[in-house]
């Protein structure tokens, strides 16, 4: 090998060494943190779910799918799944309906002025106020609503109702009502987020579309159902998936707000709460992980299905 070649390749090599050295130095810490605290626990969870691990020091034994067969005959598990199903159906529907209504008013409800669609007066103010609950911690909101939902006349809501002669309602202690009360808090907190999200979608619709529709004599309802709704369908779909995934959580709210953590009589319990309880109250680590795996597959199935079902032909503008 001639000297010149050696020098040039050494020069090139040092450029490459520097580049790969840089890449490595930038990736190594984030990657280690991520693998140690995120990837490895997820991977272990699948294995732990196949063991009978109980207690902090006990040795886990491999028991195959036994945890899962036990899960199938566990009433509390099925109660939790039913609650997720109800949350999954009702929560996105209510939240999106309210948010769509308000974002339509705030963006297009004022009619067109100078050729541009405007919202009702004060729309900026409403948007700021509606969004605020979103920045509060769910745990804080939970404690706050406990005072509002108190079952006797000392509760804010029952205090108001007694003013118009309606007896105290057991918002959180009536088994048929408790989950709906909790859902109400979720809706209260998240409507503002979706108002802002849908507003962004509506702002992106070119104003001449509304202009043309108004010229053809379309009223507000036509404007909403025939024009706005189809044109922000993508955004609604994103909101639907977000709320659906939130319906599989609700841990903090149920844990803080409900009677006896998931009560009365498991009427508000959700899978995350049962996972947490099985693991950190009863030390049933294998069983808790099996529920975790079940929750994972439920979430993934929902995400895949909803992306498929709600897909419509995209309207190009």
């Amino acid at each position: 090998m001639r000297h010149g070649d050696g020098r040039r390749s050494r020069g090139l090599a040092s450029v490459r060494v520097r580049k790969y050295g840089f890449i490595l130095s930038f990736l190594v810490i984030p990657l280690i943190l991520y693998v140690v605290f995120v990837i490895s626990p997820y991977a272990q969870a699948f294995y732990i779910s196949l063991t009978n691990w109980r207690g902090v020091s006990a040795n886990p034994q491999f028991i195959g799918l036994e945890n899962f067969t036990r899960l199938l005959s566990d009433d509390v598990f099925w109660a939790a799944v039913r609650h997720h199903a109800l949350l999954l159906l009702a929560m996105p529907l209510i939240t999106i309906a309210i948010a769509l209504f308000f974002s339509f008013l705030l963006n297009l409800g004022g009619g067109s002025r100078g050729g541009r669609m405007t919202g009702v007066r004060g729309s900026g103010f409403y948007r700021v106020v509606y969004f605020f609950p979103q920045v509060l911690a769910v745990a804080v909101v939970g404690v706050l609503f406990q005072a509002i939902y108190r079952p006797d006349n000392t509760g804010v809501l029952n205090g108001l109702l007694s003013g118009i002669g309606i007896g105290p309602v057991g918002w959180l202690i009536a088994p048929n009502l408790a989950l709906w009360s909790i859902m109400g808090v979720v809706v209260w907190q998240s409507v503002g987020f979706y108002v802002v999200l849908f507003s962004a979608g509506m702002a992106a619709i070119p104003s001449d579309v509304f202009e043309a529709a108004a010229l053809d004599g379309a009223g507000r309802f036509r404007l909403f159902f025939s024009i706005t709704l189809p044109l922000i369908w993508d955004t609604i779909q994103v909101g639907w998936v977000y709320l659906g995934i939130a319906a599989f959580d609700c841990f903090a709210l149920v844990q803080v707000l409900s009677v006896d953590r998931g009560g009365p009589d498991n009427s508000t319990t959700v899978l995350p709460l049962e996972i947490w309880r099985a693991a950190f109250t009863f030390s049933k680590f294998g069983y808790a992980s099996a529920m975790g795996v079940a929750l994972f597959f439920l979430t993934i199935t929902f995400a895949a299905l909803s992306l498929r079902v709600t897909r419509r032909e995209r309207i190009e503008l």
Partner: protein, 303 residues
């Protein structure tokens, strides 16, 4: 519906009666009135509970538990606030949370932007694989990892320490941070970075002095997203900071605990003062940065 003047005249010429009918539907009509009622009702629903919490923190126990929970407090005193700050340790929890969230957000942004930059702008073997490894973290529910995560942290001797919480916060914030910032770094032009490299700047220097300032809008959005997400986190603190280290607790777990612990049942004003203390900083920060916060939190959905 009011329309631009020229279209109005066209319509009047074409169909005077239709135009007249349409004018009755303008925003000041019945529809406009009803929509304002709806908007005001929701405003009261949002503001009411928060305002009531602030007022209740100035009340006395009988005033809150009495039969008129909606009445105004008789006098405004800060006793309950003092009790919540000292005896319920809200001050302590608040400082802990500021420390933990401050450190972990700073390092989330540092590590997240470093990884995202390399993944967005350098070609090397394994680039796609590492990117998808990060992004895959977005699709797993954290409850699946709960048991093993607890033992990973325990085996490292980091249970009941702030360092443990900080490392876990960083790790769980990385997927979204990397996902968002990778897309952001890809949109930045190449020319400035290339010019800097030509002038002999190292890769590292190019990143910190050229690319990070250029990426500021994206970095700010995600910083806000991470601060709020970590500040409001409840599950991870209650798993990683047990009851034996109450002096290390974070604000959300402290508030939830006042609510459940029996000792405070006699002190409702204290509870509401504590709640107010947790809400107030968020309210101030929100009023100042509401535009950035709204865009930061919805950034993920718009992507």
């Amino acid at each position: 519906m009011t329309t631009a003047p020229q279209t109005d005249t066209v319509r009047v010429a074409r169909a005077p009666r239709a135009a007249a009918r349409r004018r009755t539907k303008n925003p000041t009509g019945v529809f406009g009135g009803l929509s304002h009622v709806a908007l005001i009702v929701w405003t009261i629903l949002v503001v009411g509970p928060i305002l009531w919490t602030f007022l209740a923190s100035f009340k006395t126990n009988p005033e809150i538990v009495g039969d008129t929970p909606l009445a105004l407090p008789h006098s405004f005193g800060w006793d309950a606030w003092g009790r919540a700050w000292d005896k319920a340790h809200i001050g302590r929890y608040m400082l802990n949370t500021v420390f933990v969230v401050g450190v972990s957000t700073a390092f989330t942004m540092l590590f997240g932007s470093m990884a995202a930059y390399v993944l967005a702008r350098y070609r090397f073997f394994g680039n796609r694989a590492i990117y998808y490894l990060f992004v895959s973290g977005l699709s797993f529910p954290v409850f699946l990892a709960l048991v093993p995560l607890f033992f990973v942290v325990r085996n490292l001797g980091l249970l009941d320490t702030h360092l443990g919480v900080i490392l876990v916060y960083i790790a769980y914030s990385l997927p979204f941070t990397v996902f968002f910032l990778t897309a952001f770094f890809k949109t930045l032009p190449n020319s400035v970075a290339e010019a800097a490299m030509m002038d002999g700047a190292s890769h590292t220097r190019t990143f910190f002095q050229i690319m990070v300032p250029m990426a500021r809008p994206g970095l700010i959005s995600i910083t806000i997203f991470n601060i709020l997400g970590q500040w409001n986190q409840y599950l991870l603190p209650i798993v990683l900071l047990s009851g034996s280290v109450e002096d290390k607790w974070l604000i959300t777990q402290g508030i939830a605990n006042i609510n459940t612990s029996a000792g405070y049942e006699a002190d409702w004003p204290g509870l509401f003062a504590a709640l107010s203390m947790a809400i107030l900083p968020m309210l101030i920060v929100y009023i100042i940065f509401q535009r950035q916060i709204q865009s930061g939190l919805t950034a993920g959905a718009v992507k």
